[in-house]
Amino acid sequence: MTELNPAGTDAGTLIRLSAAQLAAKLAAGEVTSVEITRACLDRIAQVDGGERGINAFLHVNAEEALAVAAEVDAIRAAGGPEADALHELAGVPIAVKDLIVTVGQPTTAGSKILEGWHSPYDATVVARLRAAKMPILGKTNLDEFAMGSSTEHSAYGPTRNPWDLDRIPGGSGGGSAAAVAAFEAPLALGTDTGGSIRQPGAVTGTVGVKPTYGSVSRYGAIAMASSLDQIGPVTRTVLDSALLHQVIGGHDPKDSTSLPEPLADLVAAARTGNVEGLRIGIIKELHGEGYQAGVENRFNEALELLKDAGATIVEVSCPNFQYALGAYYLIMPSEASSNLAKFDGVRFGLRVLPTDPPLTIERVMAATRAAGFGDEVKRRIILGTYALSAGYYDAYYGSAQKVRTLVQRDFNAAFEQADVLISPTAPTTAFKLGEKLDDPLAMYLNDVATIPANLAGVPGLSLPGGLADEDGLPVGIQLLAPAREDARLYRVGAVLESLLEAKWGGPLLAQAPDLAGAPALEAQEAK
């Protein structure tokens, strides 16, 4: 266990500080952005590569990140109105999931079909990071096109869980979660279609937020399922998620589904956490049977803490959640089959020519897609194409949409009885690499607790709930709020986080094993 000295400015300390702490140090002139950024880049160099490396990064953007950091430092040093106008997070580095397009860096979506492709435009969230002058450390690994719950479906090798290098970091955003958990980056962006931010957060002991659908622009996030996808923060604290959400969120005229109204003050909500008199609803269908005992234990402890802090715990029932997974696995592949049609070798990315004549466009498209897509992507394209086919549409896509409406109604009813809902984020802790690779259904079941929020468009936050008794691995607690009430998640999350940290005597990640071959850690311990 590593003691953290928040007053320190050595690299070993800097990489472990939260974004809010780094921002405060930058503002106070105690540290430069170049020092922080270099510390992160050094950490990436130490722990990310090699046979047993984390492999959180598909691309490291050292040169540009340091240049942005130096620019922020120069502005701060010069003082004056430009320095005063700097964003609170200016100079705090961040990693970006490689599903989000960036100018100046490759974007692969974890797929061979986009290998070497550079986007000519920035995603809106990336433009907002740049406007806030946050150095972008690089692009993080993911399941191909965000399709998976373990990051094992990446065409560029799996990411390892910093808590146990033989285990999965969750998925699809395993790279972003692992980068934050392994102290390679204080902040990261993820995308969440069925739990791809929250479930990796749960199994790596980090915080992940799926904002209300439409709260953050999707422009520049390579679409898997348009009606479910949402970009969100991956961080080590609830406050950091609020800070990042505030940077990337808000209306974007380039995204027709983006909400028109301005964001609530999420940072204030995180800073003034309070649960007194709040009704917190346990979702009957999202715990108990099928959930690992250690997960249940940590979940029940969290409920006790919240009760002690003045919240009222109620039980709500969402009977249609039992159909949510099935509906999700029709809607998501249907939309994905359509969204992925553009990857055809005609205009960008991989182009594979058939080995035998004739050389027709259909055959070039087919050869490109056969070679460029991995098995899980093909599985979902086939499933979705089938579900949308004439004669099957009503039975599959149509029925799934009806279930979606029922799930939304369940949420509406539940939010009549409770201000915030709570559940474990994932039924189990991190499983072993390869354990579920040949069993898609078992893999899909990992998302059973996170999927309903995507179907209904409501916001969800996962935060560390402690370590499971049986395996000592992180457990995630999920909070859910009504659409547009993201602030409630931060208000409740901040309370639960502080109660848990008081119990643990510090952040959960301080209990994570030291990563081998990491000199920065050794230096820290030598003190």
Partner: protein, 502 residues
């Protein structure tokens, strides 16, 4: 290319009853595209009017063009359609390289406009009502050019070039209900219907409506059934018939071809047909079944388009007068004969004459100038008359000069040529060329004296009562004044001078 058997049109009509149906695609002339901010401009360098959205790059999202919605509602209203209070887009999915996303964003279950009609007036005044099923919004595809191989077709081509400038251009597709009862007038009705749609969208100002540029494209469905039978025959769909004449010919040809197929006891194949202007025939395209599976589903990246009743009524209030009603009104106002008016319409100078009259010319003067002078010059210059560069004010000014006796008609046409040559306004040209009719009697009297002195014998004859001899003196004066004198005035002055009663 095999040649299909045909029956004569007359024989086909004796045996069969044609049923028509049209899908007319209208490209809107919005500044930007249907779902992106890229310019909607025809004829630029390939792949320059594109952005990441038009190319379907990873991560992009569509945003609906509000002006395109407005234009679509206007078209719907002009076609007497109901306008949906709320409607959605859908994805029509098929892999083809002119469609960057490999799906077309279109409307499926709920078009923006539906259940309308259009009354079509045929040449003899017969009015035929065509029912409109729907008008829906969608995006155009890019343009493929097949290189190598025969006839620019994809079959046998070595490779294809694709220009995405057109990709994402807003389209409104107008679909008729089956048109029954046209009989032998089916080809004429086909042409008149497409002409009417073209005129409406042009009149609304929502499309450039130039068929040769593909602004208005017609797919013509034709089927035949024996007289007296209710059930429709199997149809063919002739794609992209892109001139009014071609629409008429294509429908006529397909009727004759179907008739021959049916006469031989064969079933008509449900398929698309390609129109060939050179041979005025169609050839087989691809089989088309009603069960073509485009896997339509609601476009999840767009929210529903909501057209409030207030907005629709605001737009209705801005609609121009329908073209047919306008023509009736103008003909009555101007007092042109049927023939004169038809000539004006066919010459394409209806708007120009209206503007010229509005600028102060009389209806007959406006017609005389446009039909008598400008149309011919435009034809020689190979441009539309309106494009020649004659402003209504120019004609008004010329006509006034003639009326006032400043110049005569012959001079006026010369001045018009000067205007077209860029020499300035009519007044400037008259001034510069010294063209004004001489009306100051002083110089005229001098010229008359000179002419009388030069021909004393003629002067004597006139004095003696042979007034018809005056022509020689007038001619002399006109010659001396280089034709600028008013011949009538000259005559008066000569007679006065000689003391002879005219």
């Amino acid at each position: 290319m095999s040649t299909d058997a045909t029956l004569s049109f007359e024989e086909a009509m004796e045996k069969y009853d044609p049923v028509l149906g049209f899908e007319v695609h209208v490209e809107l002339n919005t500044k930007t595209k249907m779902f992106s901010s890229a310019p909607n401009v025809f004829g630029d360098e390939p792949n320059t009017n594109v952005n990441e959205v038009d190319l379907g790059l990873p991560g992009v999202l569509p945003v609906v063009n509000r002006t395109a919605i407005e234009s679509s509602i206007k078209i719907g209203l002009a076609l007497n359609c109901s306008i949906a209070e709320s409607c959605t887009f859908a994805r029509k999915q098929y892999f083809y390289p002119d469609t960057p996303k490999n799906f077309q964003t279109s409307q499926y279950e709920d078009p923006i406009a539906y259940d309308g009609y259009l009354d079509i007036e045929l040449a003899d005044g017969t009015v035929f009502r065509v029912e409109i099923e729907r008008a829906h919004m969608e995006e155009d595809a890019g343009k493929l050019t097949h290189m190598g191989g025969a006839a620019g077709r994809i079959q046998g081509a070595d490779f294809s070039l694709v220009d995405y400038n057109r990709s994402g251009v807003p389209l409104v597709e107008i679909v008729t209900k089956p048109i029954e009862g046209a009989g032998s007038r089916a080809p004429e009705l086909a042409k008149a219907y497409v002409a009417a749609v073209r005129e409406i969208v042009k009149n609304l100002g929502v499309s450039d409506a130039r068929m040769e540029r593909g602004n208005v494209r017609c797919d013509a469905n034709v089927s035949l059934r024996p007289h007296g039978r209710e059930r429709f025959g199997i149809r063919s769909e002739t794609k992209n018939v892109n001139s009014l004449r071609a629409v008429e010919h294509a429908v006529r040809y397909e009727i004759q071809r179907h008739a021959a197929v049916l006469d031989n006891g064969n079933p008509v194949i449900q398929e698309t047909r390609h129109w060939h202007e050179d041979t005025r025939t169609t050839t087989s395209g691809r089989p088309k079944s009603d069960a073509d599976d485009y896997r339509y589903f609601p476009e999840p990246d767009l929210v529903p388009v909501v057209a409030s009743r207030e907005w629709v009524e605001e737009l209705r209030a801005t609609l121009p007068e329908p073209p047919a009603a306008r023509r009736k009104r103008l003909q009555a106002d101007w007092g042109y004969s049927e023939l004169e008016f038809r000539d004006v319409v066919n010459a394409g100078v209806l708007d120009e004459i209206e503007e010229t009259i509005a600028a102060g010319a009389s209806a007959s003067v406006a017609r005389k100038w446009w039909m008598g002078e400008i149309v011919g010059r435009a034809k020689n210059a190979d441009v539309d008359p309106g494009q020649l560069g004659v402003a209504p004010a120019t004609i008004v000014e010329l006509a006034k000069m003639v009326d006032d006796g400043k110049i005569n008609n012959k001079m006026a046409t010369a001045v018009l040529d000067g205007v077209l040559a860029g020499e300035g306004t009519p007044a400037e040209i008259v001034e510069a060329r010294g063209l004004a009719v001489v009306s100051d009697d002083g110089p005229l009297l001098e010229a008359i004296d000179a002419a009388l002195a030069a021909q004393p014998d003629v002067a004597e004859k006139i004095r003696g009562g042979k007034v018809q001899a005056i022509g020689a003196i007038v001619g002399g004066v006109m010659k001396a004044t280089r034709g600028q004198a008013d011949a009538g005035r000259v005559r008066e002055l000569i007679l006065a001078k000689l003391g002879v009663e005219g």
